[in-house]
């Protein structure tokens, strides 16, 4: 199957070379890549977050802060709950950064770190995969359910199979918005919380098949959901077996075979609006503008910088580029104006938008 897909891509790439002139205008970047040689705490970067001119990087060996051209590293000796930082969220009201780690949750507030664990607080589990803040509530995705901390009162609410329609409690991602909160649940679809009614709903893969898609565009593409993003009333969802877009009535699913998605194995995504979304897969960074796709990555074989564009008719065009994200295994995405920051398995990448 894998070889077949590669062959198709190769054919498409060959065809693309004949029609470069018609390639849709998709964003181009010069990627500047950071590694431990530049001061990044570790090359395995799980998460990236932009706070103005400050860039936070959650790595396998500490939390990095890039500011004024230098890296500063926070680790357990500074109070960080664990060295492996899986997720990040910014409280835009206060400037406090929240870091989800393999050993609990940490708040970084003007260099003071306070940590919350399953032993010393109401946190449901120490493995914190996802974080999202709306208002005075911090929503948390953990390996044992979701939870919410009221940042004013310090009170916790836990969400699991006992009080939500969650079949599995391995929660990978969360996105809190003024109207809805979505949890990406590994093996249990998407959990939806209505902020107004305070009721839960759930979206599952309608065919119930774990490895194949019987009912495309009739529901969530797969039960193993890794990331959710709700913007402009549109829910974007990433799974390990393709991605989905839901407008409240209709589902549209994306697979490599019928879209520009470079891989069905998607770690993360970030919706820009109802029609634009970025995808982080195990085979590169992808951008979808509602019609066309662009993929950015080091070549899978030769690691040479690579960018290609797939238009609505499926025509693929190679774009000559001088750089690519540090690695094709993408774990995190954030934006700094027109620039993009990408967390990868082998470094942090700053995509500087080109004219």
């Amino acid at each position: 199957m894998k070889n077949r897909i590669l062959a198709i891509i190769a054919l498409a790439l060959s065809a693309a070379s004949l029609c470069t002139a018609q390639a849709p205008n998709m964003p181009r970047f010069h990627f500047k890549n950071f590694t431990t040689a530049d001061g990044l705490p570790d090359n395995h970067v799980y998460a990236v977050l932009v706070d103005g001119n400050r860039i936070w990087a959650g790595t396998d060996n500490g939390l990095g802060l890039y500011e004024n051209g230098k890296w500063r590293v926070y680790n357990t000796q500074d109070g960080l709950a664990h060295r492996a930082v899986l997720s990040l969220a910014l409280d835009k009201r206060t400037g406090d950064l929240w870091a989800g780690t393999m050993g609990g949750l940490s708040r970084v507030s003007a260099d003071r770190i306070d940590s919350f664990t399953q032993l010393n607080s109401g946190l449901s589990n120490n493995i914190v995969y996802g974080l999202s803040i709306y208002g005075d509530e911090l929503w948390v995705a953990t390996a044992a359910g979701g939870c919410k901390m009221n940042l004013d009162s310090g009170q916790w609410a836990l969400y699991n199979e006992r009080n939500t329609p969650m079949n599995e409690i391995w929660v990978y991602g969360v996105n809190a918005t003024p109207t809805k909160v979505y949890y990406a649940v590994w093996g249990s679809g998407i959990l939806e919380y209505d902020q107004k009614t305070q009721k839960w709903d759930k979206y599952d893969d309608p065919d119930g098949e774990t490895e194949i898609v019987l009912f495309k565009d009739q529901g969530l593409i797969h039960e193993i959901v890794t990331s959710v993003s709700y913007v402009d009333g549109i829910l974007w969802a990433a799974t390990y077996f393709g991605d989905s877009r839901y407008d409240g009535r209709y589902w549209h699913n994306f697979l490599t075979k019928d879209s520009g998605l470079p891989s069905n194995f998607t770690n993360t995504l970030k919706g820009i609006d109802a029609n634009h979304c970025w995808f982080g897969t195990d085979k590169g960074l992808a951008y979808y503008d509602g019609v066309n796709w662009a993929v950015y990555r080091p070549g899978l074989k030769d690691r040479k910088p690579e960018m290609y564009v797939r238009d609505a008719s499926g025509v693929i065009t190679n774009i000559t580029v001088d750089s690519a994200p540090a690695h094709n295994y993408i774990l995190g995405i954030d934006f700094q104006g027109d620039d993009i920051w990408v967390a990868t398995a082998e470094g942090l990448s700053h995509g500087i938008r080109q004219p």
């Binding site: 009201r93 206060t94 400037g95 406090d96 708040r107 507030s109 003007a110 260099d111 003071r112 306070d114 399953q118 032993l119 010393n120 607080s121 109401g122 449901s124 589990n125 005075d136 044992a144 940042l151 004013d152 009162s153 310090g154 009170q155 916790w156 609410a157 836990l158 699991n160 006992r162 009080n163």
Partner: protein, 644 residues
Amino acid sequence: MSNMTMAKNRRQSPFIGLALAGGMLALTAAAFHALSTDPVVAADKSAPDYAARTMPYVYASPLETLFSRDGKKLFVLCTESNEVRVLDPATGKEFKRIAVGNVPRGITFSADGAKLLVTNSNDDTVSLIDPARLEVVGNWHVGYEPSGIVAEKTGKFVYVANRISNDVAVLDAKSGVLVKRLVAGRGASYLEPTPDGKLIYATHVYPNPSPYRTEPESEITVIDALNARVIERIPLRAIAGVFHIAFSPDGRIGAVAEYHPKNLVPLAHNEHGGTFVYTLTLFGADVGRQVEIPLDELERYSSQPFGVAITPDKSRLFVSCGGSEVVLAIDLHKLIAYIHAHPENFTEDLSASANYLIARIPVGHNPRGLTLSPDGKKLYTANRLDDTLSVIDTRTARVASTIKLDSPPAVSVLRKGEQTFYSARQSFQAQIGCANCHIDSTFDGLTWDLEPDGFGRDIVDNRMIEDLRDTEPYKWIGTNPNIPTECGPRTEKYFWRSENYDDLTLADLTIYIQSIPQRPHRWRLPGGELNAAQRRGYALFTRSVDKFGAPIPEYNRCIHCHSGPKGTNQKVFDVGTKRATDNTGNFDTPQLTNIALTAPYLHDGSAPTLEEIWTVYNPEDKHGRTNDLTKDELNDLIEYLRTR
């Protein structure tokens, strides 16, 4: 406690002494007589108006003062009468009394000077006063024991330090609507803007959490005033208890009053000057580095420093010392020179202060807030526990006059007891008072090594002393049957290292301690009802069967030991928390009064949070049957405990 509440309590229980009688065996017959017949007046019966003093007096208890913009009025924040009194600063004549909320604690002007803003710590509100009409024109809800208050200079925000939520609330200056809360130090209480108004410095009265039996850690939280963000946290090592900050008018010197406790060594060093060091931390361009300077002298201590003021010409720095009942006058030029000449740490050098301390100015009981007159020639000191203001000539460093606030005609037993509680006079060389460790009659967030149990033995957490009646015995091992025993010979011998209290003083002190009320609850719904999680927690607290249907032995049910209105059955139990350094595993069942506020937990303070009592320190289910609970159930139990 609000005065109304206090008065009500007294009326409902007019003979507090009688209620205490069973526990007052240590008192002499004379003391007992005083208690049982005259609970609210001082034991000194020589005063001619003795009968009048049986009235439930309400004192003013001035805490802070503030000049009007034109310097013609002095606003006096009165914490017990719940007022702002408006005086002529020259004559002391009272213009008006403005009733505000319960236990006001902070006062400032709005940025445009059109409003006087007062925090009411027990109501969780801010009173808005028209300074021209001298009347309250509105109230804002702010929450969580508001204390210090500052208006950002452009009129965008008002900042309020909230003591029990450990944050600084940012309010919209026009509407009073909460914009956000900034994480501050534990017990956030006092705010001071820099002279240019760009930054606000926040301090806190309880130490931030730190690893077990390590030096306490505190901070000055520095806030960008216009953007309402914390931009720096200045660490204050080994400090627990940080109070007012003052800046020189040019902003080149900052000074903050603080306690430097020595809680990691056995409490046996009063005679060696070793229980507390009272210090200032100085910083700023003129200082050159952050430096902690001692205020104590050999054989003369500066207990409970609170207020700080720097004269406009930067020649003098003044510090009020609530326990020593003095205001210190420091030659600031000499102090800066000394700091520059001594780059080494001299925090604990009791000979240092002789180089810059020029006067110890005796004032009234429990001096607190300091305010300079606009010309800097006079310093107004609020003497909280005798309803006076000492007006100090800043040039001569002497009291020029004393303004006596309108006050009850006599000193009640409660007031006498409170004066004793706060004063350091009783201890060896007047080093410490009860209020050193029970800051503002609460606790200090520290663990101590008390000598009576042996050096390095029986490390104990310092407990809250609110609403103590009917919670005896005292001491963690429950060996003190009543307050007079707890606060009498034991305290005198091992803490004060001094001669005994006289019996009447001990009686007054006892009654005061017994009268300290429970602070209002913040975790219950209006009307005192429980929310859903709290109700689930209550069911767990009172359950008799575990989740597997097995009966829980009575002795291992939460409700058994933590029974009754205070949450204690007043007995000792072994709940499996004995450490190698403990002489016994049997500990007094602590009351649950405001338990959410009193971290750390367990007898030795080894549990930093309520959760850890059960997630870490209850492996054998001896501290109640809890290991069958899921995480969300344990959370529910804790939500219920927060309502106690």
